[in-house]
């Protein structure tokens, strides 16, 4: 297993795009979070914003780069034919997928941690200037605060699960353009479709099964009771999506010729 891990790590490390993509995850997440924090203001009368959620807003775009990284990890091999070499060297296909998943998770966790920490720091520095002060009923962001720590750590896990979901889908469909289209469609169209739901019950149901909406419940620190799912249950929904995608992708990888 160590050799396989080493092989996959070498592949990922030596592709020129990987470094840029990891840098992209961090900078895009930070930039969008900072931009969101800079545009919100809290009047002296107090406001109803969730400061933690705002300062982690960049995760909603950073996940797109995570998806590229994950899709390229497998569909890149299909487009160059490298997959045949990989499978010749590692005939056990489940191992190939497991090793890829492990490497990808490690890399995403590392980049995600940096991105999330930078975003929280940016929020802590920017938000008080926009009226998010204890005097207006908004305490300073701090990772020592339980819900904020949960939101930050959960966001890192969220990014890792998005990577696994994308890997599973890309393994199943193989073509990179179709894979990335499917992943982004699954993530970004659900929120739009929820608003079309005919009534509240439908909207709540769609919300509960949406990988992005349910998964990002982990970022909520206020109005928890009004959410259709608790934060960890929401992240569980995304984990179920990722597991299903990996399982489906793994089965297809086993059944099909490369």
């Amino acid at each position: 297993m160590r050799q396989q891990l080493h092989a996959e790590w070498t592949k990922l490390r030596t592709i020129t795009g990987t470094g840029w993509l990891l840098l992209g995850i961090i900078t895009l997440t930070l930039a969008v979070s900072a931009a969101a924090a800079a545009t919100v203001s809290c009047p002296p009368a107090g406001c109803d914003y969730d400061a933690t959620k705002i300062s982690l807003f960049g995760v909603q775009l950073g996940q797109a780069i995570v998806a590229i990284l994950a899709v390229l990890a497998i569909s890149g091999e299909y487009s160059t034919g490298m997959i045949r070499t990989t499978l010749a060297a590692m005939p056990r296909r489940a191992t190939v997928l497991a090793v890829k998943a492990a490497i990808l998770t490690g890399v995403t966790l590392a980049a995600g941690t940096l991105a999330v920490l930078a975003s929280v720091l940016a929020g802590r520095l920017i938000l008080p200037g926009n009226g998010f002060t204890p005097a207006h009923g908004q305490p300073l962001l701090s990772l020592a605060d339980g819900p904020t720590l949960r939101a930050a750590a959960g966001s890192v896990l969220y990014l890792a699960l998005i990577a696994l979901l994308s890997l599973g889908i890309a393994t199943a469909v193989r073509d990179s353009a179709v894979a990335i289209g499917s992943v982004l469609g699954l993530l970004y169209l659900f929120p739009a479709i929820i608003l079309m739901g005919p009534d509240q019950d439908w909207q709540r149901l769609l919300w509960q099964i949406s990988p992005m909406n349910a998964g990002l419940a982990i970022q909520a620190t206020t109005h928890l009771s009004s959410l259709p799912l608790s934060p960890w249950a929401g992240l569980g929904v995304l984990a179920a999506w990722a597991a299903a995608a990996l399982l489906g992708g793994g089965l297809l990888l086993r059944l099909r010729d490369a």
Partner: protein, 522 residues
Amino acid sequence: MTTTLPYHSGLRAGRDGFARLLRAEWTKFRTVRGWVIGMAAAALVIVLLGLLTASGSHASCSVGSVEVACAAVPVGPGGEAVEDQFYFMHQPLAGDGSITVRVTSLTGVITYPPPNHNEIVPGVVPWAKAGLIIKDSTRQGSAYAAMMVTGSHGVRMQHNFTEDTAGRPGGVSAASPRWLRLTRSGDMLTGYESADGTQWTKVGTAHLAGLPATVQVGLFVTSPGDLTVKQADLGGSIEQVRFTQATAVFDHVDLQGNAPGGAWGRDAVGVTGTTDWERYHRPNGVQESGGTFTVAGTGDIAPRMDGQTIERTLTGVLTGLILVIVVVVMFITAEYRRGLIRTTLLASPRRGRMLAAKALVTGTVTFIAGLAAAMVTVTFGKQILRSNGNYILPVTPLTELRVVVGVAALFAVTAVLALALGAVFRRSVAAVITAIVVIVVPHVLATASVLPEGAAQWLLRLTPAAGFAIQQSIPGYAHVIGHYVPQAGYYPLAPWAGLAVLCGYTALALCLAIFQLRRRDA
């Protein structure tokens, strides 16, 4: 001695090649089954999602718990749906004439406002209106021009619901009254204001074509509902409107012209029911004492914002766009992956023309697919919405055409942008993700997330997603309080300006693609 000259072809270069190039690119597109299926699926998904949304949307009117047919919505002279509800103290005026009045007070009540929603407080909403009006008749939706003082927008002259001209700002009180005058001369109505009744300033003129010889002239008071917006938990927002009533005090009423004089007609135009406030505290109407008239009214004279819009049926556009982006990006990147690009460039060495031909083919194909899908969806979606009891805000056929053709154009321009990105990146993943992140994601974040409204509006001004503005059929009005945010379907840019932003980005991407294509080896 003989010199050998290099060979020169007798054929003349150029001119006839582009049609063949188009045919070659069209053949490439047409013969890959997956791409044709993808494009058809994009069109189909727009139609199906649109009709599904329409059939899930129900509305009904009821009195108490009994369901009744909804009252007809009045339509203004411009064809738009309007609110036309006010208290009207009027006389007929034959031919030309003028009316002058002094307004000394505008007060009112707002029922159960936030934060506690538990008391009726004194207050005037910003667009509460009181003043003079000359109107075709007391029929709702008929042509008019009015001079008024407002709750917090100073003196205004408005006509035919959509037009609004600002006069002097500031409120009205006994210490600083406002004099208003409205004159008719043929089809021209002119509004004046004055602080003292002697020095008059012209505020504006209105040309009301087809105004009958005898019109209704008089004093009016109205007060629109008090609107507040709360963010909903699942994205989107909850709008609440509360009953308000305005009361104005008029004196020095002076009607010049061929009017019968004597008693004034009193009408509550467009009023359908009464609230507890009107029943037990203060009904709408006129109290007269020695030339001073105290008039109370509620309602609004303005374009109506409440109802479904035709673009509500175009919910599948985002999904369709993602499919189009994937197909179009593959149309160019597959050439690089398979090495076909070398053959293509051998056959057509002028690289810019090759890309232009590809752009024309993709643009045309997606335009046709988008046009067919949008036309079917809007036509049948409207019928389904109506049969489910929904009221659809009427628009002119030209506006409907703009929405349908605009959505097709949105598809075509997005496709060309995706093609250009594909040519720049040469890799499908990078191109697809860039296209989706610049067009689809900003729109989703702006309309379906917890992003603050200001940030959402900037997203739809600066990114290519500005192009979605082309589907907005009902404009927002500065003189009507409304929740004009992307979530509610109001875009920060005008329809064609939004599409122009998208076109600008596309032109830039296309230039970059041609530049790169020329410079790089294939």
